[in-house]
């Protein structure tokens, strides 16, 4: 290999000599991972100061060799930028509705803060956004005054991801359901189903932006380009508050948002939580005394048609 020049930074800053003993490879990996996960400056450069308060050009030079064209810091910066560009692109792909309702001015600070608080904990990029709805609820200042609608959109978009690729189990046979005493019958919903109680009817926004093939990694290159060029986005129009209950599910490999009445939502919610059919119906009738048994039978017929129920 071509011999590299000594790190020029060391000449400038004699207080930061290279450690006498080379760190073990894991220590280098920990230092580099910490450095590349640090947020970029507004002009997409590596932060000039490292987490320990020293200049990043000094700390980078301690473990990264410069070459005749790039300093240690500049070599580190390539990876720092790739990290952020790749992960931001993933969340942009998975939450287009959230971006549409917040606009880029609020969306980018939100997802950057989210990634700082919740670095990826899964080898699969598709899991990256799983904590975003809870993060929005817990950090209201980042989305105020649109926290409710932002949270609703994020929950619906995550439910869409769950519906897209979570497993499906063989549905319970309707005759088994019919023949089991209601006080003994407990049911589970398919793993790809999410029940949502929303303050805003945000499904219209999300449906408009529904993608057929979400964030599948398109290749194995470790480069994402020199500049971050986000895709264009559509701004959502004004949405009036109206409580909306949805069941998000997959049928024949397409994702559907099924509107639910308040009574239907309550019944499914109780069943999903582990109540027997008899107990769930008791709660339903107490909350909605006008509910008729033929209504419940009709709902069940529809839900069984779509195979919503599996064995608990």
């Amino acid at each position: 290999m071509k011999p590299s020049k000594p790190p020029f930074i060391l000449k400038k800053n004699p207080r930061s000599p290279r450690p006498e003993r080379s760190p073990r490879f894991e220590e280098v990996q920990r230092r580099m991972a910490s450095a590349i996960m640090r947020r970029l400056t507004p002009d997409e450069r590596t932060q000039p100061t490292d987490s320990d308060g020293r200049a990043t050009e000094v700390t980078a030079a301690e473990y990264i060799k410069p070459n005749d064209r790039l300093t240690s810091l500049e070599r580190l910066e390539i990876y720092n930028r790739q990290y952020w560009f790749r992960l931001l692109d993933c969340l942009i792909d998975d939450f287009p509705g959230l971006r549409a309702v917040l606009g880029d001015g609020r969306f980018y600070p939100l997802i950057i803060s989210y990634l700082e608080s919740h670095p990826s904990s899964s080898p699969l990029l598709g899991d990256l956004g799983k904590n975003l709805p809870a993060f929005i609820a817990g950090r209201k200042s980042l989305t105020a005054p649109h926290t409710w609608i932002a949270g609703d959109v994020a929950r619906l978009e995550w439910a869409q991801i769950v519906a897209f690729d979570r497993g499906g189990r063989p549905p319970l046979n309707p005759s088994l359901i019919a023949s089991t005493p209601p006080d003994k019958l407990t049911l589970r919903l398919q793993p790809h189903i999410t029940l949502l109680d929303l303050a805003y009817p945000v499904e219209a926004v999300v449906l408009r932006l529904l993608r057929k093939d979400r964030s599948l990694r398109n290749g194995s290159s470790n480069a994402v380009g020199e500049k971050h060029v986000p895709r264009k986005f559509a701004r959502a129009g004004r949405i009036s508050r109206r409580r909306t209950r949805l069941l998000v599910h997959r049928h024949e490999n397409s994702v559907y948002f099924k509107p639910l009445t308040q009574a239907q939502f309550l019944l499914l919610e109780k069943l999903a939580a582990g109540s027997t059919l008899a107990a769930a119906c008791d709660i339903l009738v107490e909350a909605f005394p006008s509910t008729k048994s033929e209504d419940v039978r009709s709902w069940f017929a529809s839900w069984q048609h779509f195979g919503f129920f599996i064995r608990r």
């Binding site: 490879f25 473990y63 470790n222 490999n253």
Partner: protein, 283 residues
């Protein structure tokens, strides 16, 4: 080396990566192609459309799994949960070998989703080789490790990248997925002769070769997989085939993806080099 233990004793020809923009063309036109390489992690899901597409592809084509998240070089043990998912997919695809990168990408349960270059030390080689062996034993399929493109080097490195690749592959007794584009990119970024790399690895372990395009910037080259293969990379490929023999070859084209026919046409240029060098075992 058309067939060796590292590619499951297969004799695959020239394939391309299975990419979303080509799904419709492939499923409707059913083009003739030797094999597809899939990104394993795109199909590590429990159900839905990704697996439906995969099953349709598997009805018609041979598929080889290529991973981006095993991170054999990361600190700590293998991610057993990830391996279990991979094993389920291996059973589904029947992949004769499985590849992933000679790199690291996670630390203490936090993932960068990047293919980061290793510090080339003996300690790192032993650690990485141990994890590759464990993964192979668990997955029960041969593993080839791919050299990554890189933009940085570490002070603690004790050997060249090709010496590290050799050390790891021999200690792990695994195969090599030789990416000649990555060799070229790294050679330009680090100032070494790419032929030194190609000529000084254990050629009998090469189970597969990757070719791809890259992008030149003012002071470095990025491995962008968004161009046709450039001449210096074809020259390296030519040399690799001379040394390793007739080897399963795959074109990676991952960004600004043109039509299926254009990608396939570019991939088939490899046959010119393969036909110059019929099956030959290398020492």
């Amino acid at each position: 080396m058309p067939a060796n233990p590292f590619n499951g004793h297969t004799d695959y020809g020239v394939g391309i990566g299975l990419r979303v923009p080509h799904y419709r063309h492939i499923l409707e036109k059913k083009p003739t192609i030797d094999w597809f390489e899939i990104i394993s992690e795109n199909f590590l899901v429990d159900g839905g459309r990704p697996l439906e597409i995969l099953d349709l592809i598997l009805e018609q084509y041979r598929v080889v799994q290529h991973g981006v998240a095993a991170y054999f070089g990361s600190p700590g043990p293998l991610d057993r949960g990830h391996l279990r998912k991979l094993k389920r997919l291996v059973k589904r695809t029947g992949t004769p070998w499985l590849s992933d990168h000679l790199c690291w990408g996670s630390v203490d349960g936090r993932f960068t989703h990047d293919l980061l270059p290793m510090p080339y030390t003996s300690e790192a080689a032993a650690h990485t080789a141990r994890k590759i062996r464990e993964a192979r034993d668990f997955l029960e399929v041969p593993i080839c490790v791919e050299n990554v493109s890189s933009y940085t080097e570490f002070h603690i490195s004790e050997m060249t990248e090709w010496e590290f690749l050799t050390e790891v592959s021999e200690q792990a007794d695994c195969g090599i997925l030789l990416d000649v584009n990555n060799i070229y990119v790294s050679s330009q970024n680090h100032g070494f002769n790419p032929l030194d790399y190609v000529e000084n690895i254990p050629h009998g372990r090469v189970g597969q070769i990757h070719i791809a395009g890259h992008s030149k910037f003012e002071r470095f080259i990025l491995d962008t997989h968004d161009h046709p293969v450039l001449d210096p990379v074809w020259n390296l490929y030519d040399r690799a085939i001379q040394l390793a023999g007739h080897t399963a070859t795959l074109l990676e084209w991952d960004d600004r993806i043109p039509s299926f026919n254009e990608v396939h046409h570019e991939a088939l240029k490899a046959t010119v080099y393969l036909e110059k060098k019929p099956a030959l075992a290398a020492a």
